[in-house]
């Protein structure tokens, strides 16, 4: 996880690890635990899946406060990105930080709210496609559909 964070900021993050999942929680919340082992503890930051760290939106929101590695998009770009499409130059409001191909960027809407993150794949001044999504909030729709199916199956 720390490797992922270092791509965006030098700010230190103190985290709890539960099995393969990472969380950020206040010391006050720590005092509220039950005797049993919890599954979810404070702000969910992400998890290791097959030795790869997969960030959660809690971490991306946190990074948005401390990182300059941001691409701000117009509302049309916002919708495209949330539906898993690559961002095009005409979608971009402004770019902060690194502009080199291969770098990871936080994708923000006009209110500086995080939509996910992506990788630079083109020159912002020349190329049409510039950011390829790595993770976007549209994933919640897919998860909700899956949860509903599982939930109705478990009721049977």
């Amino acid at each position: 996880m720390l490797d992922f964070v270092s791509k965006f900021t030098n700010k230190e993050i103190k985290f709890y690890k539960l099995n393969n999942k990472y969380f950020l929680a206040s010391p006050e919340l720590d005092k509220c635990r039950l005797e049993q082992k919890e599954q979810f503890f404070g702000l969910y930051l992400g998890e290791d899946i097959n030795d790869q760290f997969v960030p959660a939106f809690g971490l991306l929101d946190w990074l948005s406060k401390y990182s300059n590695e941001k691409v701000f998009v117009k509302d049309i770009g916002e919708m495209d990105f949330l539906y898993g499409k690559s961002l095009r130059s005409r979608h971009i409001l402004r770019v902060e930080g690194e502009k080199t191909i291969g770098f990871l960027k936080l994708i923000q809407n006009e209110y500086d709210e995080n939509l996910g993150y992506g990788k630079i794949i083109g020159d912002f001044t020349k190329t049409e496609q510039v950011i390829k999504p790595k993770l976007d909030r549209g994933i919640f729709l897919k998860r909700e559909k899956k949860d509903k199916r599982l939930s109705s199956e478990s009721k049977r």
């Binding site: 929680a25 039950l34 049993q36 082992k37 979810f40 949330l82 909030r137 919640f140 939930s151």
Partner: protein, 281 residues
């Protein structure tokens, strides 16, 4: 006419199929009520404040709100108005236990005010809690995949939104699918759960019990059982709905049961609901 339909007449209600008004709750951990209203109105969503709730709007939209950036960003939760009442009625001031938490609508609502211990025993439904906690950016909840009857810590505030048989607005053919035996089975589980909830409550602590059932066996009879067996008393609730029943099916119940609220869909434009607020003496 089903047997259950006839019973509703005796309760002073009736079966009238309505479509509950679509309702959202603003996630005030992320955005103010005014700002979200402004943003959605820019997208031509019609918003109408719910008069009996703090942070809720009835909504009308030409597009599916679930696919909007504001929903995906966790700025609001789509939640029936009736289902938002229990957390408001509990009005917690400190750490709160949500005993049957999935899918997390009331948990995330409570988290706007206080830290929450959320518990649910269903592995599949638990995933929905995790998903909602992440989407809404909640940072003050500890969630356990656990049968709430295994908890051994005490609390000043507990929400028990008990598993129930549901009501005829929620499911097609509900009246055909349900019967008194199924309702009675639920009632036994609810009595077990309320007994446990009261045992986990500190003295002077508050328990809100709710269901989306309109059957007295799952509502007033469960509360009567609690009043008969434990040191608790009912408190008045200031919200929409009819008073709880004090006499039904030939049984005379404690007169304070009128402090409970039952929401008939055709009267409140919500799903069917029952809410009681108990304080431990």
């Amino acid at each position: 006419m089903s047997y259950l339909t006839d019973r509703y007449k005796e309760m002073g209600g009736e079966v009238k199929f309505i479509k509950p008004r679509r309702c959202i709750r603003v996630n005030t951990k992320k955005i103010s009520v005014e700002k979200l209203k402004e943003r959605l109105e820019k997208k031509h969503v019609e918003l109408d404040k719910v008069p009996f709730l703090k942070n809720a709007f009835y909504v009308k939209s030409k597009f599916n709100l679930v696919s909007s950036p504001e929903y995906l960003m966790g700025l609001f939760y789509i939640q029936d108005a009736a289902s938002q009442i229990p957390a408001e009625v509990l009005n917690p001031k400190s750490l709160t236990l949500d005993m049957c938490a999935a899918p997390g609508s009331k948990t995330t609502q409570l988290c706007e005010k206080v830290p929450v211990i959320a518990v649910d025993s269903n592995k599949d439904r638990f995933k929905a809690i995790e998903n909602n906690l992440e989407r809404l950016g909640i940072d003050n909840c500890i969630a356990y995949l656990l049968d709430s009857r295994e908890i051994n810590k005490t609390f000043d505030y507990i929400l028990l939104d008990a598993p129930c048989s549901g009501n005829y607005i929620l499911e097609d053919d509900w009246l055909k699918k349900n019967n008194l035996k199924r309702i009675q089975e639920r009632s036994y589980l609810q009595m077990e759960l309320i007994s446990k909830a009261i045992s986990l409550l500190n003295k002077n602590g508050v328990l809100v019990y709710s269901t989306c059932s309109l059957e007295p066996e799952e509502d007033e009879f469960v509360i009567q059982f609690a009043l008969d067996n434990f040191p608790v008393k009912l408190e008045k609730i200031d919200c929409t709905g009819d008073d709880g029943l004090t006499k039904i099916f030939g049984k005379k119940l404690d007169p304070t049961l009128k402090y409970c609220k039952r929401l008939w869909p055709y009267k409140t434009n919500t799903i069917g609901f029952f809410i009681a607020r108990l304080r431990k003496c």
